[in-house]
Structures are given as C-alpha cells and as structure tokens.
C-alpha cells in the first residue's frame, strides 16, 4: 500500500505540473473540464468491480 501511495503521489505531481501549464496558457478552459471529469473518474475506479458497470466501461474505453 505504501508503494501504491508513492505511485499515486508521483502521478499527482505530474498531473499538477500539467494543470499548472494549462492554467497559464490559452487552454485554461481544460482545467474546469478536468475538474468536472475527476469525480466521474473516481466513480469508474470505485465501480470497476461492479458487473453493472462493466459493459459501459468496455464501450467507453
């Protein structure tokens, strides 16, 4: 789990840099879009074991 946390924190650092560069440039509007999609991503992660969600996940990705 500690390894997972390290991986997640490393990924968050990269994501933070990406968002900072978007924020400063002409594509700042991508930031609200990412903010909107973040909870959706969380739901997909939490739903991954749910057989109800599986067909939709397959179609989307």
């Amino acid at each position: 789990m500690n390894n997972s946390f390290r991986r997640i924190s490393g990924g968050l650092k990269t994501a933070g840099e990406l968002i900072r560069s978007m924020w400063r440039g002409p594509y700042w509007w991508l930031v609200p879009l990412v903010m909107f999609l973040l909870p959706a991503a969380l739901v997909f992660v939490l739903m991954q074991a749910s057989p109800l969600a599986a067909p939709f996940v397959y179609v989307l990705f």
Partner: protein, 365 residues
C-alpha cells in the same frame, strides 16, 4: 509567473482573470461531484451494511493448549443485508452437544461407514454460511452421491479463530476418540500467526485505517452519512488498505526463520506421526485467501511455501487456487469487508476435496 491582469473594466474590486478561472473550475468540480453522487445513488452502488451477529459459539477451554473451543449446544445468528433497509439474509450456525458444528453424532463409528474428521478454523467451521453449506457438509453430500448406500460421516471440528497448533492439540485430545478413517486439516493464510508468537508485522497504515473505519465519528461520519459517494470511496479505500496489509503481513509469516511457521511445521509433523501410527491418512486442504492481486490470489506465495513443506514431509496437500481461476473472487466473499467464503465458494471447495479424496483412493473407490 505572468502578473494577473484585471477584468475588462479594470475597476478595483473586479475579479481578476485568475479568480474567474478558479471560480469556474470550482463550479465544474462541484457539478462533477453532484453528478457522481447522482450516479452512485441511481445505480445504488453503496456498500452493504456490516452484518449483525447474535450469539456466541465458543467458550474458554479447560485445556491450556486449546485455550477456547466450541460451546456445546450453542447457536449463532448472522444477519446480512445488501443495503440499508433491504430484506435480510439470516444465517444460523448450530453447535451440537459434543461441540461439533452440525447435527448430533455418536462417538462410536457406525459399522461399515466412512468417517472423515475435518479440522480447521472459521473457514472450516463455515462462518457466515448456513447448515449444510460449509465445505465439510458439501464434501459429505458429494461423497454420498458418489458412494451411494455407504454411510458417510464428515465431522466438522472447525473452531472459529483456531490456529494449526490448536487444531493438532484438538486432534490429540478430542478427535481420535471418534476413530476417524481420514483426517483433513483446513489450512488458511493466517495459520502461522500463532498466539504467543509475536507476528512479523509490517506497519499497518494506521492513520488511514482509523480515518476510514466505519465506526469512526466526527466530520467523516457526518460526510459519509450524507454522501453515498463519500461512503463508497471511504469503504473501498479501507477494504483495499486492510486486505493488502493482511495479505502482506500474513504471507511474511511463512519465512523460513519465522517462529510461527517453524512451530506449524512441527505441529503438522506431529499430527502426521500420530495418525500414521494408527494407519489413518491425513491431508492438508489449502483454503485460498479470496482477494486477487495482479492475477494471483493473496495466498499464492505463502501456499507455494506450504506445498514445498508438504512435498518434503510427504504430507498430501490440496491447493485450491486453480479452482478459483477466472472467477470473480470478490463476489465469493460474504461481505466486501469480510474474507470468509460464501456458500458458493464452500461448494467449490467441498466438491474439489471430494474429487481429490477419490483420486487418492481414500474413499474406498
């Protein structure tokens, strides 16, 4: 960083471009959270409530080696619900007057019959499954179907929370009186975590476990009560942290120099010698830890060590991991936060054990 520019009017008090962007981003996040909350509610994805347990099926033992044992004539009722307010699924476990799970049995073996004694912990006792659903029960049903009119008795000596040393002590003190034709010892991942031996623990991420525990009060309880998304996220994180820790720490208990594993090997050899002198075959049934990580069950590495020991000690051993290949093991546990097996998993185990006994010629066929 570029200096922030004022809004179009440039008047003091106008929001800067950065502030406007921040506001829009925050609104988008709030909108996303509301949408996610709606999805969770519409699809009813919240985890089921913890089951309620009534009654106690164990008592302190008069024997120091056993420490505790099943309470004769006791009953335990466990109530499961798929969601709050949903119809309950009630499971009862009965312990007979001799302290065995299941119906009454005579001490004397019926003439011409086959009597099998199953030793183990809660995974053999059948914690959370009804009468007739534990793997020893399924084993009896399968053998009865195969052997027809021959009387088959499978005695369930399982005691919740027993370890291997206690099981071997139980064999010496109680089980041999029943003159079994065959003894099966159910073995689980936590069986080297013997009482009195300091476990080789790797640090539990205590902060997260305390924060995400369902019994915790305060602001997180407030949030979990109002948001099903928060409840789902907290529960899922808690489950992953705890099961990951459990698999890691218990697997570490199979290191060659770990005192618990050394004592378990000694206990198994003692059982083998004791039964060998009486001409009673003994087999080890490796009951898998039903959490899959990177394609393997959580007990995979530990059970490889156990199989090596069994091969060197010539102790027959059945690893059941292959029976769960390709199956959704999450759905084969009683509850997302419980590692005990469902009736369906017990059926898989019981049927495979029956086949194994037949393959080894232990059933007389």
């Amino acid at each position: 960083m570029r200096p922030e520019r004022r809004g179009e009017s440039g008047a003091p008090g106008d929001w800067s471009r950065g502030q406007r962007r921040a506001l829009i981003s925050a609104a988008a996040l709030a909108l996303g959270l509301v949408g996610a909350e709606l999805v969770v509610r519409v699809l009813d994805l919240t985890p089921p409530p913890l089951p309620t347990v009534e009654g106690r099926v164990f008592t302190q033992s008069g024997d120091a080696r056993l420490r505790f044992e099943n309470l004769p004539g006791s009953m335990q009722r466990i109530t499961y619900r798929s969601s709050v307010g949903a119809r309950a699924h009630v499971v009862e476990a009965h312990v007979n007057s001799r302290g065995l799970r299941g119906p009454e049995v005579e001490l004397a073996k019926p003439p011409g019959g086959l009597r099998i004694a199953c030793l183990g912990d809660s995974h053999t006792f059948g914690y959370g499954v009804a009468e007739g659903e534990s793997w020893p029960d399924v084993l009896r049903q399968s053998l009865q179907a195969d052997l027809g009119s021959q009387a088959i008795e499978v005695l369930n000596f399982g005691v919740n929370a027993f370890d291997t040393e206690q099981e071997v002590a139980q064999l010496e003190l109680r089980v041999l009186d029943y003159s079994p034709d065959l003894v099966l010892i159910g073995f689980y991942l936590n069986d080297t975590a013997l009482r009195g031996v300091a476990p080789d623990e790797q640090a539990l991420p205590g902060f997260w476990v305390r924060l995400l525990d369902r019994r915790r009060g305060g602001w997180i309880a407030w949030l979990r009560k109002r948001s099903m998304l928060a409840e789902l996220a907290a529960d899922e994180c808690y489950r992953r942290i705890v099961f990951d820790y459990y698999a890691r720490s218990r697997s570490a208990g199979f290191a060659p120099d770990y005192p618990g594993w050394i004592r378990v090997q000694a206990a198994l050899r003692r059982a083998q010698d004791l039964l060998g002198r009486r001409g009673v075959p003994v087999g080890l049934v490796l009951i898998p830890f039903l959490i899959r990580d990177e394609g393997e069950l959580g007990s995979h590495a530990a059970f490889e060590v156990v199989q090596e020991f069994c091969a060197s000690a010539r102790l027959p051993c059945l690893d059941l991991e292959a029976e769960f290949e390709g199956l959704d093991v999450d759905s084969l546990r009683l509850h997302p936060q419980d590692y005990h097996a469902t009736a369906q998993a017990h059926r898989i185990i019981g049927v495979r054990v029956a086949d194994w006994l037949a393959e080894r010629g232990w059933t007389g066929r």
